[in-house]
């Protein structure tokens, strides 16, 4: 079969490359920064933070971008996109984000949604004291 002969034609170098790459994959899985439970949702529109909300309270809200409003919901400790004016709705297909470091994005509408852990980021614009 053609596949069989193709596999036999793999050179030594080819095999080495595949093995090294596979090792790289394994190593990269072992490395990641600690996956903390998420505490807060941070939404950036056009690289500027426009909205933050805690993950532990259910809410639905909208963020606007050049194409229109993207609707997001926080439910049961996870955030996902409900609706968005982009053509392919990839952002909706990305599903839920709930751990620190998780990302969702609607690239055409320039919206990036991050989940942050406890210690990160400035959580307010002004301080009242």
């Amino acid at each position: 079969m053609a596949l069989g002969s193709a596999l036999r034609r793999l050179t030594l170098f080819d095999r080495y490359l595949v093995v090294i790459f596979a090792l790289l994959v394994v190593v990269s899985f072992l490395f990641p920064f600690s996956k903390q439970p998420g505490a807060r949702v941070v939404v950036d529109a056009d690289h500027r933070t426009v909205y933050t909300a805690p993950l532990n309270e259910n809410r639905t809200f909208e963020v606007s971008g050049p194409l229109g409003d993207t609707r997001l919901t926080i439910e049961n400790g996870a955030v996902r996109v409900l609706s968005s004016p982009c053509p392919q709705k990839i952002c909706i297909g990305m599903g839920e984000a709930h751990q620190a470091g998780d990302l969702l994005a609607c690239v055409p509408n320039r919206i990036v949604i991050r989940v942050e852990g406890q210690a990160e980021g400035e959580s307010y614009d002004l301080l009242s004291r």
Binding site: S123, Y124, L127, S128
Partner: protein, 330 residues
């Protein structure tokens, strides 16, 4: 063309980047600070027209400075000091407006907020090098004649009902100045701004389409935020026992005095009030603090369009019913 792939790649990348730039609009964000009214005042304004923002913010700061000349007790010839000296005076419109508002809140709070604590504050002198705790007799003397009816206001003519009274607008003047600054920004066409006078805050519009996030200082943990409020077009003021105080033998003496006793009010650690204007928020925060957790909460619930929360002396939290949607505890 295909024989020089590099040139082609660079060309395509260049065009793509140009397109990318065209579709990202940069908005201007302007921030100015000034030392006024004994605190750091910061004005943030957002918009497309930088020149417009600059002019508006400069005018707003100038106005706040002008008001300081009217209201400050530290400036010998301020209008307020001249009123205290003279007994009766025809004051400027702003002063009359402020005194009228203050009197309304003094009445609503049954005297918990009082504008005539000038003598009392001088007596305690919290900010001086050698503050001391006054005697009972001294306190009685300093409190003579105070109360919601201690001033008679007829149009722009203001008369003290007791000769020795001295007016001190510490609990409301900053808020009023913040309000005037916001009015100037609004009149100049600014749609998104925040004025923050040492923690007395008023917001104009939204911040890039979303509510402003206001962190509330934790009364006992410095550098920590106890709650965050999501607000737009509102004022928020916090009164706390941690700002100006001195300690003697383990007892903290702070600047929020109970007009009934002449001593610092002990019921709360801090009070945060959200209202339509900063002057009201300022005065109400002071009043609620003095009244203590239960009565203070009742006062805030009773006032229309006013919300807030109190941190009682034991650390427990009381919140008005309408605040939940905007409030996030930490």
């Amino acid at each position: 063309m295909f024989s020089r792939p590099w040139a082609l790649i660079l060309l395509v990348l260049l065009v793509a980047l140009v397109f990318w730039q065209r579709f990202s609009t940069e908005k201007s964000q302007l921030s100015r600070t000034a030392l006024l009214m004994g605190t750091l005042v910061e004005i943030q304004a957002n918009g497309d027209d930088r020149e417009l923002l600059e002019t508006a913010v400069t005018d707003a700061i100038a106005e706040m400075s002008r008001l300081e000349q009217l209201f400050s007790t530290h400036i010998p010839q301020s209008e307020i000091n001249r009123l205290s000296d003279a007994g009766t005076l025809q004051v400027s419109i702003e002063t009359a407006e402020l005194l009228t508002l203050g009197q309304q809140i003094a009445r609503s709070s049954q005297g918990a907020f009082d504008m005539c604590l000038g003598n009392l504050k001088r007596l305690w002198d919290i900010e001086s090098q050698a503050p001391k705790t006054p005697s009972e007799k001294e306190l009685r003397e300093a409190l003579r004649g105070i109360g919601p009816e201690s001033l008679q206001i007829e149009g722009r003519q203001v008369t003290k009902q007791t000769e020795s009274l001295r007016i001190d607008l510490g609990g409301i003047a900053k808020g009023y100045a913040v309000d005037r600054a916001v009015e100037i920004l609004r009149a100049a066409g600014v749609l998104s701004a925040a004025v923050n006078a040492g923690g007395d805050i008023r917001l104009l519009g939204y911040r890039q389409g979303q509510p402003w996030r206001i962190g509330i200082q934790h009364p006992r943990q410095n550098g920590e935020v106890i709650a965050t409020l999501m607000l737009q077009d509102r004022a928020v003021v916090t009164s706390g026992d941690y700002e100006r105080y001195f300690e003697v033998e383990g007892t903290r003496y702070h600047h929020l005095f109970d007009p009934q006793t002449g001593r610092p009010a002990r019921g709360c650690q801090s009070v945060t009030v959200v209202a339509a204007d900063a002057a009201s928020a300022d005065a109400l925060a002071t009043a609620a603090f003095v009244l203590g957790p239960q009565k203070g909460l009742a006062l805030l619930e009773q006032m229309p369009e006013v919300e807030g929360f109190l941190i009682a002396a034991d650390g427990s939290r009381l919140t008005t019913s309408g605040l939940e949607d905007f409030l996030e505890w930490h």
